[in-house]
Subunit: 216 residues, 2 copies
DNA sequence: AAAATTATTTTGGTCTGCCAAAAATAATAA
DNA sequence: TTATTATTTTTGGCAGACCAAAATAATTTT
């Protein structure tokens, strides 16, 4: 199996199982990887032989501890690259994901280590997602959706649930980024939208938007 | 054809034809790419269909102008990455080639442009090889081998003919790098070795070595 | 519980990049 | 100009990553 294929599967299984080693369905994998389920069946069988996943037919797939380890390493590389691209090379947070998707496969731990050092071994990437260290350790941050916030309180934007370029560009238009403070002025219970104050300006945010903003 | 395969062929043809559009033999390509000649036959036929090479059977292969253009772009990416890795991330000149070999395939002109800007759009990479600009232009430097130098003269190391890690590490041991001045004290006509002064120390360099040192 | 839906696996194929061995073509030496 | 040798091409095959369609299995609906 090609290393790149393996890495993409592991990473995707990892994300679908939400970091924990939950069972992932064949179809979900197929959708995420843009292949048909039959292809996934083949692939997970091979991953099973490589002892990277547990797999029982018609049941589902789950990472082994070895698989998790490798997955975390890929996640680390991806997020280090994202942060590096944003911080050192001035890419927008809506651009870095796609590039990191390619760069994460470069096989050099030394390179990743140097990149990490250059940006000060950060714990979070530009989207507020935690970066595992060399040993795969990271603390899962306690975020909640802005949608669940209380009127009158002020929050700090700490992450986004939607990583799409469209959403991120939308946030850019209001100069919102990780660290921006958002005050909830009013919640419209008709449509769930929120009147907020961001960067000293009043902004109304739709339920769609506030559901994808993670705050502290 | 996979983009990566195409790029590797174009780059290799380019180097084998020494930058000019000389005809390259099938076997030479096979050797460089670590495949058998039969594989090359297949590949160049496909490259021909893509109008990237001229190809007549049992004659040889030569880049078309389109092919040269693409080849120069790959060479550019490779050398930008080499320089970036050395300059910004502190890699040794013996390490950068291998890494650049992977990084050159990342498909983002914007990335290369940013990297280049960061290192000041240099005209030469850490080995003294010229970096083509976005349009593929570069001036071929007028180097000569130190082996052909005259006794008593002082030269500036401007390039290396051998890019192997072994050779580069050897040079590191004597702190020789691009820009180092080398004074030729004496030429031993028994074995062609040279007595030189490098970094204020007397060093005897074998014919092997001085044949691979390019100087001005 | 039977029918209908959805998910998974199997089966048979394609395409790409590769190899081995044989056949055809140079190119070189005698 | 024959032999000999080297190179190139052809042919038949293989593995990886995919897909389409058919066959199974599991899940939901009714």
């Amino acid at each position: 199996m090609h290393q790149q294929t393996i890495e993409n599967y592991l990473k995707t299984i990892y994300h679908l199982s939400d970091g924990n080693s939950f069972v992932v369905t064949n179809k979900d994998l197929a959708d995420r990887l843009h292949v048909i389920p039959a292809t996934v069946t083949e692939a997970v069988k091979k991953l099973h032989q490589l002892k990277l996943v547990e797999y029982e037919k018609s049941y589902g797939t789950r990472l082994t501890s070895q698989g998790i380890k490798q997955a975390l390493n890929i996640v680390r590389r991806h997020r280090i690259w994202e942060t590096y691209l944003a911080q050192e090379l001035g890419f927008g947070w809506d651009e870095v994901h796609e590039l990191a998707e390619e760069l994460e496969h470069i096989k050099s731990d030394k390179l990743v280590q140097k990149l990490a050092k250059k940006i000060g071994n950060p714990a979070y990437d530009p989207h507020g997602d935690p970066i595992p260290d060399e040993k795969g350790r990271f603390q899962k941050p306690e975020f909640k959706k802005l949608a669940d916030a209380k009127v009158g309180r002020t929050y700090t934007l700490s992450g986004v649930a939607d990583h799409s370029a469209a959403f991120l560009k939308f946030l850019d238009r209001y100069k919102m980024k990780i660290g921006t403070t958002i005050k909830v002025v009013e919640i419209e219970n008709f449509d769930g939208s929120m009147l907020t104050v961001c960067n000293s300006k009043e902004v109304r945010l739709s339920l769609q938007v506030v559901s994808n903003l993670l705050v502290r």
